[in-house]
Subunit: 209 residues, 2 copies
DNA sequence: GCGAGGACATACTCGCCAGTATGTGGGGGA
DNA sequence: TCCCCCACATACTGGCGAGTATGTCCTCGC
């Protein structure tokens, strides 16, 4: 009675999605079996296949969700009327925080290399792949434009905006690799960590106060 | 006659290793089949299994080689008598360059997540895994110590040396993801690119000249 | 020119995993 | 109260890929 009296169909599907993200994070796409996902749920394959028709579809759903999560996290900070440097810092903080708090999804997203193999399979998968790649590209472009805006308004200075953007995103995405949540950790702890990462990249190592 | 008159056994083994690195870079560990490696070589599985007894052994060999390559690249710059800031910059440049020039090996190394699954297999694999993980850790420690030296001698300033090191290595390792060699590209081109990446991280985005 | 072994190729086996076909409990609408 | 269908569980199949067993060529020492 106390536990989940009325969980909607939507929630049940979300549980499967979260379990899949967890598995994909830990083992990657190929090493993850549908039975692993089911086991993580405390269920059987039947449940997984009831909500998702195939393994690629499940993976794409995780990827898509991961994309939505970062986009939603940074978009509010991308279009303020602050100078480029401030906007970029806010976006970077939000991105880093998202890496930590949605780690299963975001690590799966970061290891996009897996996607290569879908290009060899069906035309349908290739089409989905194209859309996802375009979104990824759009996301990077968002950062590049804000960086360029910062250079233009004088709040930033980098050798090359394109290289700088990739460098920044690399540093931020890498968080999914080394970050591990600690027991008793609060949101403030994570925000502090995100701030440290962002400061390190944006202020640099040679910035002597 | 013109081609390869006397290739040693060593070279033949190296070819297999390079082909494996190429495959692991493109598809990751699990999606790579021994037949893929053979096909890349223009040979059959027989040749691969003649030089390496199993798929894990082949993977570990690639990983080990990748480790040797970066270590050899940065070690000469780690122990000079220059200030920490200079040393760290030189190490970072060498690391970035290595990411580009040994990309198949280095991307395989960077996606160390794959290793998780070996922990579940044989005790032998677990032991090898431990050694490799220790080396990886040692490598990171090398960067951290030089960073700390820079902070101590006043040539560097970061919020936290541990976080800074991971941030730096993230930005550098990410090169293996987005870098793609261009036809007609020279070593000087790559050095310039490496320098841009290193400058971006070490000088930061807000470093206004 | 010949025996042997190194460096592969060929032809299998066997287990695992994606996907499917079918069974089942239970809750809600009539 | 009965039925029906939703949300799974159970029980299969089929193919793919790691590993193996054996055959073959070619070279090198004698």
């Amino acid at each position: 009675m106390a536990d989940e009296p009325t969980r909607s169909t939507f929630d049940r599907r979300e549980e499967v999605l979260a379990a899949a993200a967890e598995c994909f994070m830990r083992r990657g796409y190929d090493a993850t079996t549908m039975d692993h996902v089911a086991e993580t749920l405390g269920a059987t394959k039947g449940r997984v296949y009831h909500h998702f028709t195939s393994k690629p579809e499940l993976f794409f759903a995780v990827w898509r969700r991961a994309m939505e999560l970062v986009f939603d996290a940074i978009l509010p900070h991308a279009t303020t009327d602050e100078p480029g440097g401030e906007r970029l810092a806010a976006m970077a903080r939000a991105h880093a925080l998202c890496m930590m708090e949605k780690r299963p999804f975001q690590r799966t997203l970061a290891r996009g290399v897996d996607l290569y193999r879908f290009g060899e399979t069906s035309a349908e998968n290739r089409a989905i792949l194209q859309v996802l790649m375009d979104q990824r590209r759009e996301y990077e472009l968002l950062f590049r434009r804000v960086t360029q805006a910062g250079v233009d308004d004088g709040s930033l200075a980098v050798p090359d905006a394109r290289v700088a953007t990739r460098t920044l995103l690399g540093a931020l995405n890498w968080v999914t690799i080394w970050y591990e949540p600690r027991p008793g950790e609060t949101r403030a702890d994570r925000e502090r960590l995100a701030e440290q990462v962002v400061q390190t990249v944006l202020d640099g190592f040679r910035h002597l106060p």
